[in-house]
Symmetry: C14
């Protein structure tokens, strides 16, 4: 098995695992935040503006960690520096 195949396989495996494992935390964290927001709304409907705004800021922060994982996954699939180097080597030879 040549080097390029191994780099390709490693990139495929890790790009999938990174996204899937990296989404467990944000999904649970966002679910908790949304649940708290709904309870807060039920308890204090008059503060809905502040609650909604804080919720959105918080969700954005939590979502950012999922974005990190998705970005790393995309880099591995479409802008992998090691794969590019290997292709350059293979082409140059």
């Amino acid at each position: 098995m040549d080097s390029m195949t191994m780099i390709a396989i490693a990139s495929i495996i890790i790009s999938g695992i990174t996204t899937s494992i990296g989404c467990i935390g944000p999904a649970l964290g966002e679910g908790r935040a949304v649940a708290a927001a709904l309870s807060a709304l039920a308890q204090q409907p008059d503060a809905s503006t502040t609650i909604t705004r804080t919720l959105f800021v918080g969700l954005a922060m939590v979502e950012s960690t999922a974005i990190y994982c998705f970005v790393v996954s995309m880099i591995l699939l479409f802008a992998n520096p090691f794969w590019n180097y290997a292709i350059a080597q293979a082409t140059g030879l």
Copy 2:
């Protein structure tokens, strides 16, 4: 076992695992959010408009992490750059 078979097998395995593991978190998070929305509705029926709207925004955020995983899974199955490169290599030879 040649390179293309190995890339195919890795893509099959990871496309399934990515979707299945990536759905655990969102499903649990959404279940929690929906549960909180229902409790909030029972507690404060008058605020049902705000609660429902916040719930939908929140569910969309949580669902987005599941979508990420599904997208990566579909890319691996139907737009896999490493597979395309391998086919191009095999055809070009």
Copy 3:
């Protein structure tokens, strides 16, 4: 062991694992949502229309993650692009 057998085995294994692992989260999430709906109904029977409607929307969202897994599983069994490519190769030879 030839390439087609290995692709077949990988597809069999992953199609089953994807569905089984992918159903744990939705089942637990839906169970929680239904439980919350029943408690909400017991607490506020007058809001049964809103509660039921919100429950159904929420269940649909949670069920969607299970559907993703089932779809990936079916694709691997009946519309597997790598398997089709391998058959095309075997036939063309």
Copy 4:
């Protein structure tokens, strides 16, 4: 060990694992939903019609995820496309 034996063994292993793992989630989710329904009935006996109806709809949704797993398991045992292909190959040879 020939290819058909390996496909048969993989199908046997996965058909059992899919059903067994896929039943953990629904069983726990349904147990929770039934428990909530019984508490709701004890709290609000007058709403038994609504509670029972909502419970049945919810149980059906949760049970559907178990059905998915059972269906995949049955497909692997009795309508396995890879096994059928292998038999066709063996017969055609």
Copy 5:
């Protein structure tokens, strides 16, 4: 080790594992449902008819998932299609 022995061993192993793992969820779920029913009876003895009926329907739903596993296990032991095929092959030879 010939093919038939391997299919037999795989069937033995999976038939046992399917039943044992598949019984964890239902046992816990039913235990929870029964516990909730008993608490409900203590809280509202007058509704014992409705509670008992709902409990039995719920237990039947949960038990169904255990039945699925037991059925798959029995199929693997006594109506295994791959084993039957192997015997037919061995006899036909």
Copy 6:
């Protein structure tokens, strides 16, 4: 190592594991149900007839999952179809 030894070893291993793992769930579920029954009795001693009857029905349902595992275990030890086939083969030779 001949085929019969391997079938015997697989049967020994799985018969033990099936019973041991299959007893964890029922034991915990029954413990929970009994605990709830005792709390219910302390809370509503007058309903002891209904509580006891419901408890026994529930325990029977939970115990049934343990019985499934024990039955599979006994089948593997004393009525193993693959072992019988192997003995028939060995005798017939």
Copy 7:
């Protein structure tokens, strides 16, 4: 390593594991039931007869799952059908 040694080793390993794993669940379940009985006694000392009787029936049910495991373990040690067959084979030769 001859067949009899392997059967003996498998029986030794599984007889120990079956008992040890099979005792975790019952011990925890009985502990919970006893704890609930003691709380119930403290709450309603007058119902001690009913509580004690229900506790003993429940403990017997839970203990039965531990007995299953112990029985399987003893069968493997002292009445192992595969070991007896192997001895019969070795003696008959």
Copy 8:
């Protein structure tokens, strides 16, 4: 490595593991029961006779599962039927 050494090693390993794993459950279960007894005593000091008696019966039941494991462990060390058979074979030769 001869057969007797392997049987000896398997017996050593399993005798230790059986006792150690088999003691986790009873220790936790008894700790819970004792804790509940102490809370019950603090709540209802007048019922100390009934509470203590029920506690002792319960502890005996829980301890019995630890005894099972210890007995199996001792059998493997000092009355191992497979070891005795092996010694008889070695002596008889």
Copy 9:
């Protein structure tokens, strides 16, 4: 590697693991019991005699499971029947 070394190594490994794993449960169980005793003392200082006596009996029961593990560990180190047999064999030769 000769037989005696392997028996020695297995005994060393298991004697340590048995004690360490076997101490997790008792330590947690005793911690819980002591905690409950202290809460009970704070709630009902007048019953300190009964509480202390019950605590000591309970701790002795829980400690007994740790003693079992320690005893097995010591037997394996200093009175190992298989090691003694091996030494007797080595000396006798």
Copy 10:
């Protein structure tokens, strides 16, 4: 497989795993902080300024741990000292 390929594969695997595992903790921690902020807002709407400010500082602290992981991941992909050394070696030769 040459050294550069192995360094590339190790970097790919670890860059993905670092980001994905490193995002679980921050996502859960931030979700908890946001949930507490929303509950605090519902309880004391007048203190929204202090609450929001404290929340942002806290989220920044938690996010910093995710940033550490992302930075290590980027270093491994785009500024890997060992990869640079290997390229320098390969170029220099």
Copy 11:
């Protein structure tokens, strides 16, 4: 690798693992007991003598399980019977 090295390595590995794993339980159990003691002191400062005395007895019991592990660890390092036997063998030869 000669026998003495293997015994040394096994002793090193197990002496460390025994102490480290064996300290998890006692540390958690003692932490719980101390926490309960502090809560009890805050609730009933007048009973500080009884509480402190009971706490010390309890901590001693819990600590004893950690001591067991430490003792086994020290025996393996400094009074290992198998190591002594091996040295005696090596010296005697």
Copy 12:
């Protein structure tokens, strides 16, 4: 595979794992601390100065453990003594 490559790979793998695993604890701990601070602010807005100050000190302590991991990770990447020694050896040769 030469020594330098193996040291490089080990450094890459461990530098990533150290940071990612080492960030789980601090992220959860800080999330808990921030959540408690927000609840405290909602409960006692007048003590915001003391609460905020204590929170910052605490966050700094928790963050310090994440810093330790990050520092070790950076040392392994950029100031690895074993790598430097290996380079010195390779250069000196």
Copy 13:
């Protein structure tokens, strides 16, 4: 790989693992004890002397288990009897 290297590697690995795993329990236990002490101080500021004294005694007990692990770790690094024996052997030869 000679014996001394293997003893050195085993000592390095275990000295690190012993300290790291052995610190999880004490850290959690002490955190719990400190948390309880702070709650107790808030509830009963007048008993701060008794609470602080009890806390310190308790922390010392919990810390002792961490010390055990640290001591074993230091012994393995700097006073390893097996390493000393190996050096003596190597020097004496």
Copy 14:
């Protein structure tokens, strides 16, 4: 692979793992202590001096366990006795 490389790799791996695993416990424990301190401050602002002092002592105790791990990690990296011995051997030769 020579001895020095293996000692270097083992040191690298363990120095990272020791710090990362050893920081999970302290981070969680400190987070809990800080959270309790903040709740205590909100409940009893007047006792802030005692609470803060007790918190700092407690944090120092918990942090000490993280320090142990960090120290072992640094010893392995910069003052490793086995590495020094190996260098001395290599230099002396």
